[in-house]
């Protein structure tokens, strides 16, 4: 269990340490995605506590956007529920600030660029660093467009987490690896977020391709829906991201969300943390 002070650093350094520590302990990282404000921000806080208590390595906090072009139906629906609750970037920053009093697990924000652009990139970098956010993932801000935001985040110690896709060329992977801090997010297949029955055929080959170019940690996300799949992917990658499966559960369950999500991720923890 992560206690305050256990990871001294924040930002990109906290993310990098999380991957190093897990590797040293002979395991792979579990990254869990949840939608902030689904069903409400108070519950999101409790879910984060619950995930932290079962030793999830990184928490990805999705922020709702009206037009989520990289997301499948499950996360789209969660975003709509969250927007109806009035969730915003500033409210979510406040939540993280409160949570940081009790938990140390690295937190990254994942949402679309317009929310940051509108909030002001520099203002966000400052406020996010103060609140204790460690990095951001922006699915619609690729390498060519990310320099300004990356530099502002770096100035405040935060990681801009780049995505690599199955279609990325080696030249692009090299350019991304040169700029990457924290970890690299490999999108497991061409498509949008959502659970899939099978793993993409070229996944192992592509993760190996990234590893041959850089020694920065690689977490694999998009479409992973069982501990077995997670375990299989972890034999190639440094971490696995679970998203839609948890978000679907939160949307469907009437039980206490923090209890049900913590219970849900346990088999993934078992599959990954012993997967050297």
């Amino acid at each position: 269990m992560n206690q305050p002070g256990q990871l001294a650093a924040r930002g990109a350094a906290a993310l990098e340490q999380a991957f190093i520590r897990r590797r040293e302990r002979g395991g792979k990282c579990l990254v869990t995605y949840i939608m902030a404000g689904d069903p409400d921000l108070g519950t999101t806080g409790k879910i984060i506590q619950g995930l932290s208590s079962v030793d999830v390595d990184v928490i990805e906090l999705g922020l709702p956007f009206s037009d989520p072009m990289a997301d499948g139906p499950v996360i789209q629906a969660a975003g709509q529920r969250s927007l109806r609750q009035g969730t915003s970037l500033s409210k979510t920053l406040k939540l993280v600030e409160e949570i940081r009093l009790t938990i140390d697990t690295p937190i990254v924000f994942m949402t679309y660029y317009n929310l940051f652009y509108r909030y002001g990139m520099e203002r966000f970098a400052e406020d996010a660093a103060r609140a204790g956010v460690d990095g951001v993932i922006v699915p619609d801000l690729p390498l060519e467009e990310a320099d300004e935001f990356n530099a502002l985040l770096e100035k405040h110690g935060l990681a801009y987490i780049y995505l690599i896709a199955p279609t990325s060329t080696n030249a692009r992977i090299q350019s991304i690896a040169d700029k990457a801090r924290g970890f690299i997010y490999y999108v497991s297949r061409t498509g949008v977020t959502g659970e899939q029955k099978s793993i993409a055929e070229d996944l192992a080959e592509n993760v190996e391709r990234i590893h041959s170019i850089t020694d920065k940690p690689v977490a694999v996300g998009f479409g992973i829906s069982s501990p077995e799949q997670a375990s299989q992917i972890a034999s190639h990658a440094d971490g696995v991201v679970i998203g839609s499966a948890i978000v679907r559960l939160i949307g469907e369950t009437a039980e206490l969300h923090e209890r049900v999500t913590a219970r849900f991720v346990k088999p993934y923890i078992e599959a990954l943390h012993s997967n050297g």
């Binding site: 956007f65 009206s66 037009d67 989520p68 072009m69 990289a70 499948g72 139906p73 789209q76 927007l83 915003s88 970037l89 679309y112 660029y113 317009n114 929310l115 652009y117 509108r118 909030y119 699915p139 619609d140 801000l141 690729p142 390498l143 060519e144 467009e145 780049y162 995505l163 690599i164 896709a165 199955p166 279609t167 990325s168 060329t169 692009r172 999108v187 061409t190 498509g191 949008v192």
Partner: protein, 407 residues
């Protein structure tokens, strides 16, 4: 008539990053980046290839029926009592709107790139019909995403697309209109990017789409310029066109953009009024932001969430606008005004009675603005209007609306 542009007149923008000033760019998932790189390269090669240009020109001539005519609207001119009014008759192009200029070009490019599957988004259905048409012509598979609300507003066009072998997918997410159709098309593209070309219907989206669509639509401005010189021996004082995403206006403006004395006016949809929350006048009331791959003026709230928009015209019902229009607005080269639903409907009937031409509701916005400015101009001045599409598709919706007004 030569359709290919002289290289010397090719505009310098966008820059190598796809920017028109600060606007434009490529704000898309990494998965799509290699595809837009490939597309940009293929587009540049094709546009520099005389045989490709000849192929496009041949289809535009024999299949689309270009050049479309330049028509002097004598009765309207007399009635308004001011400037001489000319219409560039894009409504006479095959399928009844300017959209075909772009879809023929892009479908030929898709075929040249070896892509056998084509997707498109559509609002009013005119771009969907034009895409279905080009795909039928070239034997390409065609899937069109259309907001569920628009499939109801534009039933005729849904049937036309199906008739030509396209699959029409009603989009039920979000506001069930054009922007949601575009979200869904992008989701399809990101999934099937290796086999699929996405024919975006307007001068919007990630680079190189704003440039590519402008190149294919600029035939409107090139022809108009030549026809105007032939007819009047001089250029128009004012060019007017409606702006949703802005492809017919960009096509027209591009022919006159270097003529500093020609005023360029884009007409947006003010819906129930720009002072209400029910309009889609992005340039008039929006603020810069990023949607669907480009930095552009958007109708959005304080947090950056895209706001619901409204127009009686499904083709203008979109919260963004092409990035080059943002640049033309900021630099002052073009002016942008807006017209309400009621004003557009009034001009829909006015144009029908005055000239025997039923304009598309989109086009009726441009006509409405001409009625405002023509009377104050002198008879030796010329207004050139892009008659972007015919209004057959809107007759049912307009009749329903007008009945409420008249009863």
């Amino acid at each position: 008539m030569a359709v290919t542009p002289p290289a010397a007149l090719a505009p310098a923008l966008p820059d190598s990053q796809g920017r028109f000033g600060v606007y434009g760019g490529r704000f898309i998932p990494e998965t799509l980046m290699p595809a837009v790189d490939e597309l940009e390269k293929a587009m540049d090669e094709a546009l520099a290839d005389d045989s490709f240009r000849a192929e496009v020109d041949a289809y535009l001539k024999d299949y689309v029926g270009r050049p479309t005519s330049l028509y002097f609207a004598e009765r309207m001119t007399q009635d308004l009592g001011g400037a001489k009014i000319y219409f560039k008759r894009e409504d006479l192009a095959h399928t009844g709107a300017h959209k075909i200029n772009n879809t023929i070009g892009q479908a030929l490019l898709a075929r040249r790139m070896g892509k056998k599957r084509v997707i498109a988004e559509t609002g009013a259905g005119q771009h969907g019909v034009a895409t279905a048409t080009a795909c039928a012509l070239l034997g390409l598979e065609c899937i069109v995403y259309m907001g569920e609300e628009d499939t109801e507003r534009q039933k005729l066009n849904v049937y036309r697309m199906k008739l030509m072998g396209a699959k029409v997918v009603p989009v039920t997410s979000g506001t069930r209109t054009l922007k949601d159709a575009m979200n869904e098309a992008i989701r399809d593209w990101v999934t099937n990017v290796r086999t699929t070309h996405y024919i975006i219907g307007t001068v919007s989206g990630p680079h190189p789409f704003p440039k590519m669509v402008r190149e294919f639509q600029s035939v409107i401005g090139r022809e108009s310029r030549i026809q105007m010189m032939d007819r009047e021996g001089r250029l128009p004082g004012v060019c007017v066109a409606c702006v949703g995403g802005g492809s017919n206006s960009m096509g027209l403006f591009n022919g006159f953009i270097q003529d500093e004395n020609v005023r360029l006016i884009g007409v947006e949809a003010a819906g129930k009024g720009v002072e209400t929350n029910e309009h889609c006048a992005s340039l008039t009331k929006g603020e810069p932001g990023v949607l669907h791959g480009a930095l552009t003026y958007l109708i959005q709230d304080r947090d950056g969430q895209i706001a619901p928009v409204h127009s009686i015209s499904a083709g203008l019902d979109y919260p963004g606008v092409g990035p080059e229009h943002c640049y033309l607005k900021d630099t002052g080269r073009a002016e942008y005004v807006s017209i309400t639903d009621d004003e557009a409907l009034d001009s829909f009937t006015y144009m029908s009675r005055m000239e025997g031409i039923i304009p598309a509701l989109e086009t009726a916005h441009a006509v409405a603005h001409v009625r405002k400015i023509a009377p104050d101009m002198s008879p030796d001045q010329i207004i050139l209007v892009c008659l972007s599409g015919r209004g057959d598709k809107d007759v049912e919706a307009a009749a329903r609306y007008l009945k409420e007004v008249f009863e």
